[in-house]
């Protein structure tokens, strides 16, 4: 394991949305800050910085994690995926994103990237979730705008569409 002194600036290398990226940072830098401010991936949002709201969720080696509770150094050498990776290069939305638009599952959109990333992971592991399963995972996210109804419908539609392909 690499040892880094407390105040030492160090270069972190990782794969972000399929591309090798690196930047210098301090060992205490949060992954959320590193993604946003060092790598410019501002699609990942920070809503609480204490692990409750879920806005900052990203995929680390395919698993959903809260980037505000993860240090940038913990992502060293690993694969990070953020909301920017979901749409096709021409901008076409994927099934999950499209379902969100169809069901008016977002208003301000601040909570949305975290929810999309959580369910990108979850629907891969459980492609046939029940509504109860969806609610269970979604309860790890706070949304202040929608009252959640549209999000639940969107996730149900997305699960059906992804499954039926």
């Amino acid at each position: 394991m690499r040892r880094i002194a407390k105040d030492e600036r160090t270069r972190i290398r990782l794969t972000l949305n399929g591309r090798a990226r690196s930047a210098e940072t301090e060992p205490r830098t949060l992954l959320s800050d590193f993604l946003r401010y060092s790598l410019g991936a501002t699609g990942t949002h920070v809503g609480c910085e204490h692990g409750v709201c879920g806005c900052c969720t990203v995929l680390l080696d395919g698993t959903a994690v809260r980037s505000c509770l993860t240090l940038a150094v913990q992502a060293e050498g690993r694969d990070v995926r953020t909301v920017e990776s979901l749409a096709a290069p021409d901008g076409a939305l994927n099934a999950l994103q499209q379902a969100f638009q169809n069901h008016h599952a977002l208003q301000c959109g601040f909570c949305t990237p975290g929810i999309l990333m959580s369910f990108t992971d979850y629907l891969k592991r459980n492609p046939k979730p029940s509504e109860a399963d969806i609610r269970d995972v979604l309860s790890g996210h706070l949304c202040r705008c929608t009252g959640y109804a549209g999000i639940v419908s969107a996730l149900l539609e997305a699960a059906n569409r992804i499954e039926s392909r």
């Binding site: 501002t42 638009q101 959109g109 996210h141 202040r144």
Partner: protein, 798 residues
């Protein structure tokens, strides 16, 4: 082509937001060399600041400044407020702190991490003072006074009398009285405050980016605090914002703070609020205690009302406070036809964070009192609750209806809305559920709430706070302006700007629908640009997104601007197609002859004419490049001499009905069934409208059952994280059945009313009524947490 307005088209906003391409305040690039601020906040509810020693902090590499209230006092002025009283607030505490979380100093450093490190080295010595937290206690003469120059914490008391309340009480068969309380809470948008400020010393001007929401009546307040004229405070609002719900008005003291920091350091300064700061000190709705009393006939007809409303604004009164106490003023009799009403409005200050705008804005507080009272009238007179509601509703024949305190209810059919809600077996089903639960010994209750939902505030409503004489001295205040501009580019592409701030309501989509309808285009042809720049965009003090002003205000201005543009284009088209203007129509992307649709040209070709060949325009026509419409409905008159005020332009109606059951083991309130009926006039986009109502419903549930900012008696803040301040997750929001009725407003060309606040107003009252019914108690407090329900059940011996 059927009109787009009224159809649930999908949002234009969504693809970018779903792809991580939003442009929120903290996503935008900052100027080179930007420094970062960190606010040091008071740990005391009330204390004198004895000394601030920043030497160690300033000695650290990369630290540029530690700014204190004394520094700011020299270069800025206290914020203006509507009430002339010696309560002075600067953007940092001066000499004294008055609530836990009050900004005391700002550390400015080369990174945020550094600024936070340096903050730990700043030593601040305080001399603690006694604090007062309870609103009633704050009125007692022996209470600690927050602002000694004001000599009292109860800084405003105003009495109003409409009709003849005294004789109505004298002739009434009975009186029913109740005290209600409404707690402190906030709807905490997921994105916190962000400010980036620059100072240009050559011009003495400030350029500030902030996720401010309006009203822009606050712009002069900020400019005055900065001691500059309005044009020298250029305020930019980013294209996206992570929610607001009223809360992001209160970024304004930080706009001033960070602007001053930019001036002091000579560098751009950025500040991003964190969640802990947001919960502690950003903003809260005011808590209110209402003593309400009705004079009633034996059969439950309300002859007169008396309200004594005590509202607690925390440590300072900030513009535009005390708005919540006055925003509902004209409509204080709610959905009921009551000719006589007396009101006392009291403003009190306590050692809590300053209160300000929050969705619902005075409505939830009022209806908690009024709707609980109606339920008590039924109990005390042994009548059916729903019958008492029906007996007092404003009858449809009386529309438009002038309420006792001055509101002009523009349209509606309240009795029909109530009937539709309770029909189709819905009420029978609730009763069945209740009876079955009760037969098994469980606690189940049914609640109702009828709510008039105002939209688009009269900018003069707050002046009702002043006496008629003081209003004369200050000059008339009234009305509300909405502005939209429709532009055409050289190839005929259409863009729209408007006087709203984005918060997630889908304004971009709705404006595109409205404009596309007028121009015969598709929504995707309309580019709506809603970021704001006070130096270049048109705005009035009414600008911003609050109090549901979009639908009756900005949307109308868009309709007017686009129809004017359409008229001009018809004139140009007539000349080019060689037909009469009356024969021209704009449809399907073409400008064409109505009688001979083959005689047509693409929209863009004719629309671009004003750029390429303005000389060829019909005689006397100004080029059709840009049309700005200003919409100023005349119904928003100033308060009359006898203090009647039409507080808003449109008045929608909401009727809620629910059944709740109390869990015998956990004392949790479970919402068993909830039905909510809305009449918001014409609906512009049903999908977006539904989203707004569901969002408001969820916040209503939050207020009724979960969220509260709590303080210890000594003033310590007890809700500092999302683990203490409970925001409902998906599992806490019960299903709701939404019903609709459409009674268009006759006062606007679109007929649409506001609809995004009604459920914030109705749900707490409706659930409180259901709990009262379940437990047979009068004093129901929200949020109705298990602890409170337990206490109620113990107290009533059940």
């Amino acid at each position: 082509m059927p009109p787009l307005v009224g159809t649930p088209i999908r949002r234009k906003e969504d693809p970018a937001l779903l792809s991580g391409r939003g442009r929120y305040a903290d996503d935008l690039p900052t100027p080179a060399g930007t420094l970062h601020g960190h606010v040091i906040r008071s740990p005391h509810p009330h204390a004198d600041i004895v000394r601030i020693d920043a030497r160690d902090a300033l000695a650290k590499d990369g630290v540029w400044a530690v700014i204190t209230g004394q520094d700011l006092r020299k270069i800025s002025d206290p914020f203006l407020v509507a009430l002339k009283t010696p309560v002075h607030q600067w953007s940092l505490a001066v000499d004294r702190v008055r609530y836990v979380g009050e900004p005391v100093a700002l550390v400015v450093a080369e990174s945020r991490y550094l600024a936070e490190d340096a903050a730990e080295l700043v030593r601040i010595e305080y001399r603690p003072l006694d604090a007062v937290i309870d609103a009633q206690a704050a009125r007692v003469p022996t209470a600690p006074i927050l602002h000694p120059e004001a000599k009292t914490n109860e800084i405003s008391v105003r009495r109003f009398s409409y009709g003849d309340t005294k004789s109505a009480f004298a002739r009434a068969d009975a009186r029913v009285a109740l005290r209600t309380t409404f707690p402190r809470l906030s709807f905490t948008p997921m994105e916190c405050y962000v400010v980036v400020a620059q100072y240009n010393s050559a011009e003495g001007s400030y350029d500030v980016l902030a996720n401010f929401q309006g009203p822009f009546s606050t712009h002069p307040v900020m400019a005055r605090a900065l001691r500059v004229g309005g044009p020298k405070l250029r305020l930019r609002i980013p294209p996206d914002s992570g929610g607001s719900f009223g809360i992001k008005l209160s970024v304004f003291p930080y706009v001033v703070l960070i602007a001053l920091a930019a001036r002091i350091t000579g560098r751009p300064v950025k500040w991003v609020e964190d969640r802990a700061e947001h919960l502690l000190a950003a903003s809260s709705g005011p808590n209110r205690i209402t003593e309400i009393e009705a004079a009633v006939t034996r059969d439950g007809r309300i002859l007169a009302l008396r309200l004594d409303q005590l509202e607690d604004y925390g440590a300072f009164l900030r513009a535009p406070m005390p708005g919540p106490l006055y925003r509902m003023h004209g409509a204080i009799t709610g959905a009921y036809d009551i000719a006589n009403v007396d009101v006392i409005n009291r403003v009190v200050l306590t050692n809590k964070m300053p209160a300000s705008l929050i969705r619902g804005f005075g409505g939830p507080q009022l209806y908690m009192a009024l709707e609980r009272l109606v339920q008590r009238i039924a109990i005390e007179l042994d009548l059916d609750h729903l019958d008492v509601i029906r007996r007092n509703l404003v009858p449809a024949q009386k529309m438009p209806y002038r309420a006792a305190a001055g509101a002009l209810y523009d349209s509606g059919d309240y009795p029909r809305a109530v009937a539709t809600t309770t029909d189709s077996g819905r009420l029978d089903d609730l009763k069945r559920r209740r009876d079955a639960a009760r037969a098994n010994g469980r606690k189940y209750g049914i609640g109702f709430a009828a709510v008039v939902e105002p939209a688009m505030s009269n900018m003069g409503y707050l002046s009702t706070l002043l006496t008629a004489e003081a209003r004369d001295r200050a000059g008339p205040k009234n009305g509300a302006v909405s502005m939209v501009t429709v532009n055409i580019d050289p190839l005929g592409a259409v863009s729209v700007t408007a006087d709203v701030t984005v918060q997630g309501q889908g304004h971009e989509t709705v404006l595109a629908q409205i404009v596309a309808d007028q121009l015969g285009l598709r929504p995707e042809d309309i580019n709506v640009v809603l970021e704001m720049d006070t130096a270049k965009d048109q705005w009035s003090i009414a600008a911003g997104t609050y109090s549901c002003r979009f639908t009756p205000g900005t949307a109308v201005a868009a309709h007017l601007a686009a129809s004017r543009m359409a008229e001009k284009l018809k004139g140009i088209g007539a000349k080019q197609l060689n037909i009469l203007p009356e024969d021209v129509e704009l449809a399907q992307g073409k400008i064409r002859s109505r009688s001979n649709p083959d005689n047509a040209a693409p929209f863009g070709r004719i629309a671009g004419t004003s750029h390429w060949s303005p000389v060829m325009l019909p005689e006397g026509m100004a080029p059709a490049l840009s049309e700005t419409a200003l919409w100023t409905p005349p119904e928003l008159e100033p308060p009359t001499r006898d203090d009647r005020i039409n507080t808003s332009l449109t008045y929608g109606f909401v009727f809620d009905m629910c059944g709740v059951e109390i869990d015998p083991l956990t004392y949790q309130v479970r919402v068993d069934r909830y039905v909510s009926m809305h009449d918001a006039g014409r609906i512009l986009n049903p999908m977006i409208a539904d989203g707004q109502m569901r969002g408001a419903f969820a916040q209503g549930i939050a207020a009724a059952l979960y969220e509260e900012f709590s303080y210890s008696d000594e003033g310590a803040f007890l809700s500092g994280t999302f683990a203490d301040y409970l925001i409902p997750t998906v599992n806490e929001i019960p299903p709701v059945e939404m019903l609709h009725q459409e009674t268009p407003s006759p006062l606007t060309p679109l007929g649409a009313k506001g609809l995004a606040e009604g459920n914030c107003m109705s749900v707490p009252a409706c659930i409180a009524n259901a709990i009262a019914d379940a437990l047979g108690v009068a004093d129901v407090r929200i949020p109705a947490t298990p602890r409170r329900i337990h206490a109620l059940m113990e107290g009533s011996g059940r």
